[in-house]
């Protein structure tokens, strides 16, 4: 009898009582945790991530942010398997340089998103285990957020949470930014200060309830003036 549990999620905690004979197999993936969030405003975008790198019961690092700067107007957040995150960002950087040299201009956020989709789909049969969210300004200077699944399906959104605490954060964002599931509220557009405060509050809540999220929060605010980074401490337990 082959217990299904032997194939289980590489990152999840093991069961410590005997369930039957189990077939073990090498898995090329590991789950390193982490949560990423991006919000698009009228003329700004925010990409935020926690900085904890974990595996199973251990924490590898408390200072491993998951936001990577791509161009002056685009930041990508990658969570999932850290090895694939690093390789993927190296590949994206290389492709950005190639584009810059051939076309004499930087890639726009929409173009980076379309390119990332094809890069991810190129590995359809051995995917990058990465949940990506791109945040930046589009050609008209408006905030843009593009969220991806691990094989390249993508969509432009106003806000998106990805990573280990995404299932907890997404409904909260739907309610606070999308004004969903509320009756009789005024739909006020989000200001930059309110958005940054909301992101901080949301991560503090995530750190309370998700074990893989915590340590510190890195917030990147992208405006036409440039990219501004802040680090806020979160709970370390």
């Amino acid at each position: 009898m082959i217990s299904a549990h032997g194939f289980g999620d590489p990152g999840k905690m093991k069961e410590y009582h005997y369930t039957g004979p189990v077939e073990h197999r090498f898995s090329p993936y590991a789950f390193n945790g982490g949560t990423v969030l991006a919000v698009a405003g009228e003329d700004f975008a925010i990409v935020a991530s926690d900085t904890r790198l974990s595996e199973g019961y251990s924490i590898h690092s408390r200072d491993s942010p998951k936001c990577y700067k791509l161009t002056d107007t685009t930041v990508i957040g990658c969570s999932g398997f850290h090895g694939d995150c690093l390789t993927l960002t190296k590949i994206i950087d290389a492709r950005l340089k190639m584009y810059k040299h051939s076309n004499n201009k930087s890639m726009t956020s929409g173009a980076i998103a379309a390119m990332l989709s094809t890069i991810l789909y190129g590995r359809r049969f051995f995917p990058y285990y990465v949940y990506n969210i791109i945040g930046g300004l589009d050609e008209h200077g408006k905030g843009a957020v593009y969220s991806f699944d691990p094989v390249g399906s993508y969509q432009r959104d106003t806000y998106k949470a990805g990573g280990s605490a995404s299932a907890m954060l997404q409904p909260l964002l739907d309610n606070q930014i999308g004004f969903k599931n509320m009756e009789g509220v005024q739909h006020v557009p989000l200001t930059q200060d309110k958005a940054v405060q909301l992101v901080k509050d949301v991560f503090i809540s995530a750190a309370e309830r998700d074990v893989y999220t915590g340590d510190a929060l890195r917030v990147c605010v992208i405006t036409k003036e440039g990219i501004n980074e802040q680090t806020i401490p979160l709970r370390k337990d």
Binding site: P10, G122, P127, S153
Partner: protein, 272 residues
Amino acid sequence: MSSQLLQLHVCKLPRLKKSRRNSGIPLHFFIPTLPNPAPSNNRSLFPYSPANQSVTVRRPFPLSHGTTTLGFIFQGGVIAAADTRASAGGLVACPEVHKITPIHSHLVVTSSGSGADCMLWERILTREIRLYQLRHRRCLSIRGTAKLLSFMLHPFKGTEVCVALTLCGWDKDLIYVCSDGARLQGDIFSVGSGSPYAYGVLDRDLRWSLSKEEAISLAREAVFRATHRDAYSGNNVDLFHVTAQGWSQRKREDLKEEYYRDMKRKTNIVEG
């Protein structure tokens, strides 16, 4: 004698030899060659042929699946409708996906199956159709498009690519193409986990002589009932109407409102 013929074939048509390795077809059988763009696309996009891969790596995450899409033909053209939910395992990955995409001004495709596969294959199809249009100075027919798509998907038969597209075109043609290799023409198709519920509603009221408004409201009703009963379909409904003049899109409607209106109607009937 036959071995000399064999030699001739091998020298003149090396492609036949390759096909013999792949599919065990006898050497003298003529295999129609795929159109030129398709193989080179596959080679540049996919570093290793999926047919060669004998070991599949187990994925630790679920991909988005589950949907209700439908298309039907009536006297006023073709209607394509779909819900907008993308679910990955038990989570709603995105409540506002576009499952109906225009390929060009007179052709629309509804997608079902794995979200990433559909999105990328639609992109590839759009590029191929555009290239055909530029090279041959005319639009490829819907049947030709369906055939092209089916042949492009063929190398991935047996792999995990899961794509079920319905092409809805201007000359009242509706063709269903799927990654298993099916290519079917019909008058009414509904695809996805919610399709049984949609078929039930459509089979009752669908007639050739429907007016445009009746057809639209029938399609909306079918998607609404399917989203009500199927867990993996929901959120909004997208509607496209394709005629000889091109496609037109109806504003996306939230089915939550429709549900409340329906409840109200039912209580009025009970009371009144």
